[in-house]
Amino acid sequence: MRKLQLKELYERFRDPATIKALAKLIEKEARSLEEPLNIMEVCGGHTHTIMKYGLKQLLPDSIRFVHGPGCPVCIMPKERIDHAYILSKEEGVILATLGDMIKVPGSRGSLQKARREGADIRFVYSPLDVLKIARENPDKKVIFFAIGFETTTPMSAALLEHAIKEGLENLLLHVNHVTVPEVMQELIDSRDEHIDSYNNKIDAFIGPSHVSVIAGAKIYRRFPQRYGRPVVVSGFEPVDVMEGVLMLVRQFVEGRCELEIQYRRSVTMEGNTSAQKMIDRYFCKRELFKWRGLGNIPHSALRLRDEYARYDAERVYADILPLEEIEDHKLCICGDILRGMAEPTECMVFGTACKPSNPLGSCMVSSEGACAAYYKYGDLIGG
C-alpha cells in the first residue's frame, strides 16, 4: 500500500498537460515522415512507462514502439536460475539476490520454492547489504547472485572490492551481468538477415538513462555511425519518453542520424568513469552468453577476471553446476517478444495459463517484463 502511495508522488513529475502537448508536437512533426517509424525502447523500464501511461495511444499510427530485451530478469536463462537454486541448497550457503529474481521459475522451481524448502535465501536492496550478511555469518558461504545491466554492475564490483579490503573470505559472486549495446547489435544483425519476414523492424532506439549514467551515452555511438540507427538516451518519466520520441522524429524529418541525450540532467557522453574503472578492475567480457529466448550473444555479458577466481561461485562450485541448456516452455513466445517480433497479446496463453501469479515465462515475472506490463495495464491496450 505504502509503495503505491509513494508512487503517487511521482505523478507530479508526470504532468498530463505536458505529455499531451508533446504528443501534439510529435503528431505535427510526424506528418512529414515518409514511412512509419519503428522505435525500439530497449529497456523494460521504458516499456513499463509506455504501457502505464498509455503513451502508445497518444501517438499517431505512424509511430510504433517495438519492445526490447532490456529486462535482466526476463533474459535470465533457466539454467542460470537453476544454478542459483542449486547453490542455495548447498550446505552452509546463504544466497542473496536483488529484485524479482526470487520469483522466476527455473527448471527445478523458483528461489521462492527453494526458500520454502529450507534454503537460506535473502532478498537485498543493495549489494552492500550482502557485506553485512557475510560479516555476520563467518561460518557460512555467502553467495551474491548478481544480475542486471550496466546499472548494477559497478555495485557488484564495489561489493567485491569492499569485501577484499575487509578481508572477508566467505563472500562469493555468481555473475550474470549483461550489457546493452551487444544485445542491440544482435537484434539489428539478426533482423537484417530476415528483414522481409518480420512485421516489425527497428528504425531507431530509445536507450535507458540509468545505463548511461554509468556507461555514458558513448556506448551507442556505433548505431548511428555504422548501422544508420539513431539513438536517444532518455529518462523514465512519461515526459522523458515523449521528448525522446520527439527528438527521434525530428532527426528523421530533418534527415539526421545521431546519438542524442534527452536526459541531460544526469547523463553525459562519458558517463561515470570511476564506475567504469571499477567494472574493468574486476570483470571482463564473456566470449558468449546465452540470453533467454535470444540464444547465444557474443561478448554480451561479464564474468570475474581470473585473478578473482576464488570469489567466483561458478568456478568454486563448478562440479555441482550443470551446463546443459534447458528449453523454455513450448507455448511461451518470450523470445519473439524480447526480439520485438511479437506482442504479448499474440501469445496463446497470455492472461490465461500465464499470469503474474502463475508465470510460464520470465516476461510475466518481472514488473519490467513486457507480458507483465501488458497484463497489468491491459485495459489501456487497443485503439
Partner: protein
C-alpha cells in the same frame, strides 16, 4: 524502477569509502566508491541500490524533496524507511 529521492551527506568515512546520508530523516550508510573524490559533507546525492551515484545541485534537490515530504510525513519511521528503500529498488534493467 530505479528512481531516487535526494539524500544529504552527513558524514564521510574515507577509509571505508562509505558515507552516512540522510534521506528525509532516514539515516543510512551508502557506498561512495563512484564519487569518492568529489563528494563533500552537505552535498546532495542520488542513491542507486545502496551507492551514491551523482551529486546534484542543492536547489534541485530541495525542490524534489519538497514533493515527497507531504506524504512521507504521514508515515511512521518504519514505513518511511521501507518506502524510501523500495523507491530505489531495482533489478538492474
Amino acid at each position: 524502477m530505479c528512481l531516487s529521492i535526494p539524500s544529504k551527506v552527513v558524514s564521510i568515512d574515507r577509509e571505508k569509502v562509505t558515507a552516512v546520508v540522510d534521506t528525509m530523516g532516514v539515516k543510512r550508510e551508502v557506498g561512495i566508491d563512484f564519487i569518492e573524490h568529489e563528494v563533500k559533507l552537505g552535498d546532495y546525492v542520488l542513491i542507486h541500490i545502496g551507492f551514491a551515484m551523482n551529486i546534484i545541485g542543492e536547489e534541485e534537490a530541495l525542490a524534489s524533496i519538497e514533493t515527497y515530504r507531504e506524504i512521507l510525513e504521514l508515515m511512521s519511521e518504519e514505513e518511511r524507511q521501507r518506502a524510501i528503500t523500495e523507491s530505489e529498488s531495482c533489478n538492474g534493467g
